[in-house]
């Protein structure tokens, strides 16, 4: 690994290294914290005297990998709404930084970055020698243009705007003047009005692909990129094929190794795991996108390799506090929400809904894998109190319709929760909607369950999903105290200091009964033996350059 080091190591990173040495934090936590501060993964490992694990050392060159995945229509990266779309283009459009299963963030198109001590200035050092397909070099201008694009809040469905929120001027809905500053041909400086520690990990998220200046949103497929693969065939819902660009020298080969494969084929087998099973049995795919629910046991019984990653991905059963039902807004009443939470024993939901493949969560959407997680007492399970609260609120007779998507684990988990609510004496009606219609109104259902993917920092999901007025605020939660505390947490770069605030935030979430969040999921996928680098990624990213067949 050459030329990875930025000359300066953030002081907080050194402090974290000491904490790691003292056993106060785990290695994963250390890596997440240190790399978010701009320390490269290699340096971070160096600080604690460890060597990075090398999983991709034994791949042979060549081969075509057949990957089961939904093949969706392309769109402009910043409006991507599914990781699958990003995966189709990931071989071509690369990212500034890459988040890995061990919790570290490492530079891709960025060689390194520095976060100032007050977390208000971020200096991005663009990697030199990265070439677009037309032979021109990737420059700071390209990076600045992409970041500015992410900040265009008015673009329909631009979810990057949420991640870059600090950079956006609320009056003009674009980046604040002077916030994105090009220093020289390979340096960009971000000047934030408020400290924001999530920007760097936000740049690792799947819509943050770096696109060329001449991108035509109607023809994403033939756009030029910096990566080693090109999407040569795309039939939505059927299949897609990525091939190595001929005679292409990839910048990453000497730094990270790879790419190994000649081609990757994505084949769409729909959303039914039974079809994936049939495909594996027929030897028509080599690796699954994700193995889910009861089928994990079935796949285990076959001659396959199982990959696992523990995440902060979860399912949330939430009420929409603004929802009107027959002229009333029952879920605006805190007692009603608390009643639901009291009626559900999260451990039982984990067992019945997800076969114990995860860890119990505590109704506040901050995971133990997040660096700033504050341990709170487990939520109370008390069915009698639940009914009493519901009666007190005057909604004991009301029938609550609990909606979920029609799949395996989300449906089962919601069923388990509903069964416990009924046991507590609450009047629950279950409705299961097919996947094709469920997402149309996902944020507006009065009472429903939603799946959330993992994000590297605990504050991130809170900012996306529970801050007042956010597009993805499905619970319509609006609490000024929560908002201001979260704003405070978002400005503390040091995870330990942040934890103090987080403890308060998490307690507010529990107290307000915003969500029932039964468990954190482990993710799995299964692959036919003899592959490297195809294990499931913590946020479903496919790093094609790591894929290969074992030598």
């Amino acid at each position: 690994m050459t030329n990875q080091h930025s000359s300066r190591i953030h002081p907080a990173a050194k402090m974290h290294a000491e904490e790691y040495a003292e056993g106060k934090i785990s290695r994963r936590e250390f890596l997440t914290r240190a790399t978010a501060l701009g320390v490269t993964a290699t340096t971070a490992y160096g600080l604690i005297g460890a060597t990075p694990a090398k999983a991709e050392g034994h791949a042979q060159a060549g081969g075509t990998l057949r990957h089961q995945m939904e093949v969706r229509g392309l769109k402009e990266p910043r409006v991507y709404d599914w990781p699958q779309i990003a995966n189709l283009m990931r071989g071509n459009f690369e990212y500034l930084v890459e988040y890995n299963n061990d919790g570290s963030v490492r530079g891709m198109l960025l060689e390194s970055w520095d976060v100032s001590d007050d977390a208000k200035t971020i200096t991005l050092n663009v990697r030199k020698g990265v070439m677009w397909d037309d032979g021109s070099e990737l420059t700071a201008e390209d990076v600045a243009r992409n970041i500015a694009g992410w900040c265009e809040k008015d673009v329909e469905g631009n979810s990057m705007a949420g991640r870059m929120n600090t950079l956006i001027d609320p009056d003009t809905s674009v980046a604040i003047e002077g916030a994105i500053e090009v220093i020289d041909s390979h340096t960009v400086r971000l000047n934030l009005p408020n400290p924001d520690i999530t920007i760097m990990v936000g740049m690792a998220d799947y819509p943050a692909a770096i696109v060329p200046a001449d991108l035509n949103p109607d023809d994403i497929m033939s756009a030029q990129g910096t990566g080693p693969f090109k999407l040569v065939e795309l039939e939505v819902g059927v299949k897609a094929r990525l091939e190595r660009k001929p005679d292409h020298t990839w910048w990453g080969t000497e730094i990270y190794g790879g790419p190994y494969l000649d081609a990757i084929e994505y084949i769409d087998y729909g959303t039914d795991p039974a079809a994936w099973l049939a495909a594996l049995e027929a030897e028509e795919v080599d690796v699954l996108y994700e193995s889910v629910g009861e089928f994990i046991d079935v796949f285990d019984s076959l001659d396959l390799e199982k990959n696992e990653v523990v995440t902060g991905a979860t399912v949330v059963i939430r009420t929409n506090q603004a929802a009107e039902i027959d002229g009333a807004t029952p879920y605006a009443d805190k007692r009603v929400r608390q009643a639901f939470a009291l009626a559900v024993n999260n451990e039982v939901v984990l067992e019945l809904g997800y076969g114990n493949r995860g860890v119990v969560a505590e109704n506040h959407h901050v995971a133990p894998v997040h660096p700033e997680y504050a341990e709170l007492p487990a939520p109370e399970y008390n069915p009698e109190k639940a009914l009493a609260l519901m009666t007190e609120a005057g909604y004991a007779d009301m029938e609550h319709e609990l909606i979920s998507i029609d799949d395996d684990w989300r449906k089962n988990s919601t069923d388990a929760a509903a069964a416990m609510m009924r046991d507590a004496g609450l009047n629950i009606k279950r409705t299961v909607l097919p996947g094709s219609t469920f997402w149309n109104d996902w944020a507006k259902y009065p009472f429903s369950s939603t799946s959330w993917n993992h994000r590297p920092l605990g504050v991130q999901v809170l900012a996306l999903a529970y801050r007042s007025g956010e597009a993805w605020n499905e619970s319509a939660y609006a609490n000024p105290e929560f908002d201001s505390l979260l704003g405070e947490a978002l400005s503390i770069a040091d995870a330990d200091a942040r934890r103090e605030v987080m403890a308060k935030i998490q307690a507010i979430m529990q107290e307000d009964g915003v969500i029932i969040q039964p468990y954190w999921r482990s993710l799995y996928n299964h692959a036919r033996p003899g592959q490297v680098g195809t294990g499931i990624h913590i946020s479903y990213e496919h790093h094609h350059y790591k894929f290969g067949f074992a030598a």
Partner: protein
């Protein structure tokens, strides 16, 4: 005859118009449009974003106007972006100068529109998918028709014999088992680790390269269902013919049983099954929806499911036109074929 065919074509156009209008009406209900906007734009768009997305693409205009545009009797929508003045429109292909674009683009102009799910021309999508279903249907027919006729004739030759009873039991059982039951049983028994792995439980790769291994199960699943039905019809028709006067006369003349069946009975016995076989075509179009989804064979039935699930308006309309066409054309063929098989019937 010419007039008869002409009248049938007229009926076909009228039916297609009525059916597409109903489909058009249903797919243009606001919740469905909202779903469309969200699947096309972003799953998690807000209401205002949905509204502007739909408005910019002409979806919020009155229903008859939109239907007229689809037919090509009204000019397509255009939209001028208030910010950069960029003009987009139904008839303006990406990269085309708005001034050069035609003002009408609908069925009458030969433009079937754009599939929102598959991001491709509707004509291309239905064409490719129909060809794949055609391949499936061809092999179904090759397997189903001869075996059904054979079973029916064998069973009908001697009514009440042991052969008749066992074949009848088989055909009743196969008709009584719907595709989604027999398909699942076949996959479990013949294509999984739970049973024997003789075949493949998925036919996805059969689209490019159909082999006995990956294509037999879906073919068998559809064929079995129709087979029993046709066999029963053939048997009934055969037993009736076998009791006819002229068969008795032939027997008394000393014609061998074999010759009676092949030379005298068969042609008359095939009239009824012929209609049934023709009616099987539209029925198969229906059956392939289940089987193609079950075996992940990406043909017409699968396309229909995807189009309906994603409210792909123009693709659904094209699918309905295809369905009307297939039903009425097969009926036409069966009516005409009837005349040749049965000289007693004439078409006015």
């Amino acid at each position: 005859m010419g007039l008869f065919i002409l009248r049938r074509v007229g009926v076909m156009i009228l039916t297609a118009l009525c059916l597409t209008f109903i489909v058009f009406f249903l797919t243009n209900l606001y919740p469905n449009l909202e779903k469309l906007a969200k699947t096309q734009g972003n799953m998690r768009m807000s209401d205002e974003q949905v509204e502007s997305w739909l408005g910019e693409r002409g979806y919020l205009d009155p229903l008859p106007v939109k239907y007229g545009r689809w037919l090509g009797v009204l000019p397509g929508w255009t939209f001028e972006d208030p910010e950069d003045g960029k003009i987009t429109g139904r008839c303006i292909e990406p990269g085309m100068d708005p001034a050069d674009a035609p003002s009408f683009c609908g069925i009458l102009q030969g433009d079937w529109g754009e599939s929102t799910v598959f991001k491709d021309e509707v004509g291309t999508v239905t064409g490719t998918r129909l060809a794949l279903t055609g391949k499936l249907m061809f092999w179904v027919m090759v397997l189903m028709v001869p075996s059904a006729l054979l079973i029916g004739v064998l069973a009908g030759m001697r009514e009440g014999s042991k052969l008749d009873r066992s074949l009848s039991t088989f055909s009743i059982a196969s008709t009584a088992t719907p595709e989604y039951v027999s398909g699942v049983i076949f996959i479990t028994l013949l294509a999984s680790s739970a049973g024997v792995k003789w075949f493949k439980g998925t036919a996805t790769s059969a689209a490019d390269n159909a082999t006995f291994e990956n294509f037999f199960l879906p073919v068998l699943t559809i064929a079995l269902y129709g087979m029993g039905y046709i066999a029963r019809m053939t048997r009934a028709s055969m037993t009736e013919v076998m009791t006819a006067q002229y068969i008795r006369t032939a027997r008394l003349k000393g014609v061998s049983f074999r010759n009676i069946v092949i030379k005298h009975a068969l042609r008359n016995a095939l009239i009824a099954p012929f209609t049934v076989i023709m009616l099987q075509f539209p029925w198969l179009l229906n059956g392939v929806v289940i089987v193609e989804t079950l075996f992940n064979y990406k043909g017409f039935g699968w396309t229909l499911v995807q189009a309906a699930g994603n409210n792909d308006i123009e693709l659904l309309l094209a699918c309905s036109v295809v369905a009307v066409f297939v039903v009425l054309v097969t009926q036409l063929i069966s009516d005409i074929g009837y005349v040749f098989l049965n000289p007693r019937i004439r078409i006015a």
